[in-house]
């Protein structure tokens, strides 16, 4: 039994264990050990890891093999699962069970997701890939559907998207088989780029649509925010952190390995001006901007983060589509970086929900004094999400920006920055409305979240900070992934990259930043008079006295001025499109039912027979 067999067996074992005794107190410990074991196994094995078993079915070889690209995603997957597992192993899980939900199924869904993703990530041919793809979709569905009626509704909305994507992929798969005669990924990486432009374009369209749906790229993104936001807490964290990235994994393989980016750039809509590659880049850029500004309007912390999740996916794809060493490294690094802080942020929001019972951004406030650790997690998390130094989110975005600058794509660059600025606005609203401002009277006695919840959150943000200070740690994995995919490999240093056209050394930047903070603190605390701590109600209120029953917290319609300007731009076009498709389906369905309700079927039969005969004779 070799390493990949062992990895997959461990994962399958865990699924079984979750089904058998997922509701007990022992299981999270066992799962924690097994997840850690898998991480060690993954990190320590030589690449590529090939599975010992393979099978032949209908003339196709089906096998599994994990290379550097797959391993990069697998590490993130298992890491996210580990954090979610610890989080739900403690008080959160007890509460979840007490509310009448099934913890066993939640654990099983998590374990099932991990197994499905590992199968997908290690697929060696398109059949194994499609099996993994579908298992991932439906395991994801299972995880989304846990945790109540709203979660189930949101998950059901995912079904047509998931299925539409799967069918597009399946269509691409059979056409690939028919045109190239093989489904083996290695073989396809040699022959697929030799197909004619028309065939390649059709394959690209089918596969890319299928993969975009999973990733939540425009215009197929509508399902994702509710499906991820409404899931049970740790499920949301796991889904948000990695689930949608399976689409990116698939797109990476398709665009870089199988078709090659230069071939994709041959498919021109307008010769020399706008190619399929540009289209992908623009889809990615619009995916950054539009969902980010949708997030800005959310009043539920979970939805806000889920919408940002969609937006952040755009940076990853844009980086990969740029295809140079810097950009693709940025895009890939962003997968890891985003997973660390997004999981932490989601867990922090659910920690707040655990204590207060709500994620409504208009019914919270001032919790920093009650839940300081959770606040710290959210602070570091939003700095990461907004992409500011010193967190790791800055590094990956910086790499993408730089690639766009060097490649000379001003408009795309502008879009990425607009996305970042929108994110800053949006996440400030998140932390302000939750943790800053006035503490509500009913939250006066709230305590910090229990350790089972704060430890995984803190571990995640510490990871996000450490890989921000020393991005080289994560870039070693990225370089491996780039090499496995056939991309140019980034020359990196521990602190970032060194280049005559503009280097980045986070060790120095963060060092200087903290030195600056130190001096600032010295100035503030060392000089001048001692400050006295005042109560939050001891506040300027235009001459009035404040009391606890006065709501003195600005939260609703936070960016009124901005909305006054950009508000009319929110058209809801995608929602309209979605409902138009639904209505058209409904109409078609009514017509078809009318056919089956016809009063005189015998007459129809006779008419049909006569027409059919006529056709046969005429032929």
């Amino acid at each position: 039994m070799n390493a990949l067999d062992l990895l997959l067996s461990l994962s399958a074992l865990m699924l079984l264990a979750a089904f058998l005794f997922g509701q007990t107190r022992v299981y999270p410990w066992l799962a924690g050990i097994l997840f850690t074991g898998q991480l060690v196994l993954l990190a320590g094995s030589d690449l590529p890891m090939a599975a010992g078993v393979g099978l032949e079915i209908f003339g196709q070889q089906v096998g599994w093999q994990l290379d550097g690209f797959g391993r990069y995603f697998a590490l993130i997957t298992i890491g996210a699962a580990l954090a979610s597992n610890v989080y739900m192993g403690g008080e959160w899980g007890e509460r979840y069970q007490a509310d009448g939900h099934s913890l066993r199924w939640l654990h099983a869904a998590l374990a099932g997701n991990v197994l499905a993703m590992l199968l997908l990530l290690s697929s060696k041919d398109l059949i194994a890939f499609f099996i993994g793809w579908e298992l991932t979709s439906w395991a994801g569905f299972l995880l989304m559907a846990q945790g109540g009626e709203r979660a189930l509704r949101a998950a059901l909305r995912y079904v047509p998207y998931a299925m539409g994507g799967a069918m597009a992929v399946l269509g691409g798969l059979v056409l690939t088989l028919s045109w190239t005669g093989t489904l083996d990924l290695l073989e396809l990486s040699r022959v697929m780029s030799t197909l004619g432009n028309g065939q390649l374009a059709l394959l690209l369209a089918l596969f890319a649509i299928g993969f975009s749906i999973k990733m939540g790229l425009l215009p197929f993104h509508l399902w994702q925010a509710p499906a991820y936001a409404e899931a049970a807490g740790p499920g949301t964290a796991f889904l948000g952190a990695i689930s949608a990235r399976m689409g990116l994994f698939a797109l990476g393989i398709l665009l870089v390995k199988l078709m090659t980016l230069s071939r994709v750039a041959d498919l021109a809509f307008i010769d020399g001006l706008f190619t399929a590659r540009d289209l992908l880049a623009w889809v990615a850029a619009l995916t950054i901007v539009l969902p980010t500004f949708t997030a800005l309007k959310q009043n539920d912390a979970r939805y806000l983060l889920a919408w940002h999740g969609i937006g952040q996916g755009g940076y990853m794809l844009l980086g990969i589509v740029m295809g140079d060493a810097t950009g693709s490294a940025g895009g890939l690094l962003h997968v890891f970086n985003y997973a660390t802080y997004q999981a932490a942020l989601v867990l922090a929001v659910f920690a707040v929900m655990h204590r207060t019972g709500t994620a409504d951004l208009n019914s919270l406030g001032g919790l920093v004094t009650r839940m300081p650790l959770t606040f710290l997690v959210m602070l570091l998390g939003i700095i990461g999400l907004a992409g500011l130094p010193p967190m790791n989110g800055f590094v990956s975005k910086w790499l993408v920006y730089r690639s766009l600058m060097v490649e000379g794509r001003p408009l795309l660059f502008l879009m990425t920055v607009i996305g970042t600025l929108g994110t800053i606005l949006s996440v400030y609203k998140l932390i302000h409305n939750t943790f800053l401002g006035q503490l509500r009277a009913e939250h006066e006695h709230i305590r910090e979240a229990p350790w089972s919840m704060t430890v995984p959150m803190l571990a995640l943000v510490i990871l996000a900070f450490v890989t921000g200070v020393a991005p080289g740690l994560a870039l070693s994995w990225v370089a491996e992934a780039q090499a496995a995919l056939g991309l140019p490999v980034l020359a990196y240093t521990l602190g970032g990259i060194e280049s005559p056209r503009g280097s980045l050394d986070m060790l120095w930047i963060v060092g200087v930043l903290f030195a600056g903070f130190g001096i600032g603190a010295l100035l503030f605390y060392g000089a001048g008079g001692r400050s006295k701590r005042v109560h939050q109600l001891d506040n300027y209120a235009g001459g009035h006295f404040l009391s606890a029953d006065v709501r003195y917290h600005y939260s609703d319609h936070f960016y009124a001025g901005l909305m006054h300007r950009i508000g009319p731009l929110y058209r809801g076009s995608f929602t309209w499109l979605e409902s138009a498709v639904a209505s058209a389906t409904d109409l078609a369905a009514s017509l078809m039912q009318a056919w089956y309700r016809q009063a005189v079927p015998a007459l129809t039969l006779l008419v049909a027979a006569v027409l059919g005969l006529g056709w046969m004779v005429w032929r």
């Binding site: 269509g171 389906t585 089956y596 027979a609 046969m616």
Partner: protein
């Protein structure tokens, strides 16, 4: 294996059906199942034997093309086995007045005999006879629930069925008029000279329409939703699961042996596509689960027609895979739906009352929409890769139709799953919801669909092992020349020499 055993698979159930009332009351309930077990064993043995070479039985010793010929290749043998097993699983065990039960058991046995006959018959005349027999028994069974709705639905079914039979008979007459024979092997031999012209095609089309009534072919399937919704679940399961497949099988044989023409395939392809579209879209708006399943069944048979329209073994393999998969899944779903009648909203929270039933439903739904590694995926994969390999754009269009309708199918099936796992209705709706044991399945139905589920999972696990026999069966069935050679050794050598 002695080919004369073939006759037993038809004769035994038929005999048992007529002798049933004469058997002492104590043993009466055992006769049917025992006979079916014997037939199943025979089917198994025949399948083993025929995998290497098809078996031929000239009934009464008259050599073909004069006498009655039973021809059993591995496909036919497998369907004999399936007929016996499925009938056994859907056997009317009880829960009814004794006299009524006798009638049902007799009818079911006759139906089994007719189905077995359809699979093994080697000439069109016998096909017609067994088809009529199956039709008449199914009318009786469909009306068996004795509700007004069932009788109205059955009346519609009878009209369509009889018209269909008439059309088929005209078609057969035309063929006989042109070629002077009804033996399939002989016809296959003569067809290129006598039947590959507009008249022959017209005959094919008429037979297609006629048999299509049972096979839920688009144009002549308007009876299906009402009958399936009003008949007993068991009967719906038999009709949708079994009888439809056998009619399909006959059409496929005709297509392979007598009419291997692009026009005939095109007709099948177009009607199959329309069937898929109409069935799946109609199911999308279905308000009760049995109609939904009926429409879904129409859609699935459309897929099977599309599959058989693909030339060569690839098409036959895909068609067989779809037909067999549907044969396992649809009866199981109908069994589950037995107590889930009425508005879909009444299913709210059904998963709590009947967790196993809901889980099985989800499993079958997943397989039906083709989620790997369940067998439904492999069937869909074979179908789509077969379509993609064809140069004609019509086949690609069919592929597109399959893909799109699968999405629709997933939506409505999972809408039901969502209702079942959702919150129980509260307030005003609560009155509509069946409480207590009202919509939990009877143990027998659960056990029946449990067996189907076990079959499905076993097939999922053994998929790599099943691929080879399926391929073998497809090659056997799609090889028209071998059929002729096996049934008419002398003619084949003659025409072989002539070429």
């Amino acid at each position: 294996m002695n080919p004369s055993f073939i006759a037993l698979v038809v004769a035994l159930p038929l005999l048992a059906a007529f002798l049933l009332p004469l058997v002492p009351k104590v043993l009466r309930r055992l006769v049917g199942p025992l006979v079916l077990l014997v037939v199943a064993a025979l089917g198994m043995a025949l399948w083993q034997a025929s995998l290497s070479e098809p078996l031929v039985l000239a009934v009464g010793g008259f050599r073909p093309p004069l006498g009655i010929v039973f021809y059993v290749d591995s496909v036919a043998a497998l369907f004999v086995l399936a007929v016996a097993l499925v009938t056994l699983l859907l056997w009317p065990w009880g829960g009814d007045a004794s006299e009524n039960l006798d009638r049902k058991q007799s009818l079911t046995l006759v139906l089994a005999a007719a189905c077995a006959g359809l699979t093994v018959s080697g000439d069109l005349f016998n096909v017609y006879v067994f088809y009529e027999l199956a039709a008449v028994t199914s009318y009786g069974l469909a009306a068996g629930s004795r509700t007004a709705a069932a009788q109205v639905a059955t009346f519609r079914y009878v009209i369509l069925g009889s018209l269909g039979s008439l059309l088929a008979l005209i078609g057969i007459t035309l063929i006989y008029f042109r070629s002077g024979t009804l033996n399939l092997a002989h016809l296959a031999d003569l067809a290129p000279q006598t039947l590959h012209d507009p008249l022959g095609l017209a005959a094919f089309f008429l037979i297609l329409l006629g048999l299509g009534v049972k096979a839920e072919l688009f144009l002549v399937n308007t009876w299906a939703p009402e009958v399936y919704a009003t008949a007993e679940a068991r009967v719906s399961a038999l009709l949708a699961g079994l009888v439809s497949k056998l009619a399909l099988l006959v059409v496929a044989r005709l297509l392979v042996l007598v009419f291997p023409l692009p026009e005939a395939r095109e007709a099948l392809l177009v009607l199959g596509m329309l069937g898929m579209i109409s069935g799946e879209f109609a199911a999308y708006r279905a308000r009760d689960i049995k109609r939904m399943l009926a429409w879904s069944s129409i859609g699935q048979l459309g897929a099977a027609f599309i599959a058989f329209a693909i030339p060569g073994p690839a098409g036959v393999a895909a068609g067989l895979a779809i037909a067999l998969h549907h044969l396992v899944v649809k009866p199981a779903l109908f069994l589950l739906a037995e107590r889930w009648g009425g508005s879909l909203a009444r299913l709210a929270g059904a998963a709590r009352r009947s967790p196993l039933g809901a889980a099985l439903f989800a499993l079958f739904a997943l397989s039906l929409i083709g989620v790997p590694p369940l067998p439904g995926f492999w069937a869909k994969y074979l179908l789509l890769s077969g379509l993609a390999a064809q140069p004609d754009n019509l086949y690609l269009l069919a592929g597109l139709v399959v893909l799109v309708t699968t999405v629709v199918e997933a939506v409505y099936l999972f809408r039901v799953v969502g209702v079942m796992y959702g919150r129980e209705a509260k307030g005003e709706d609560a009155g509509l919801t069946n409480t207590g044991s009202a919509n939990t399945q009877p143990a027998s139905a659960l056990a029946g669909s449990g067996v189907f589920a076990a079959l499905l999972l076993a097939a999922a696990l053994a998929a790599p092992l099943l691929a080879a026999p399926l391929g073998r069966m497809a090659t056997q069935m799609s090889d028209g020349a071998a059929y002729v050679a096996r049934v008419l050794p002398s003619t084949a050598t003659l025409s072989g020499a002539a070429q």
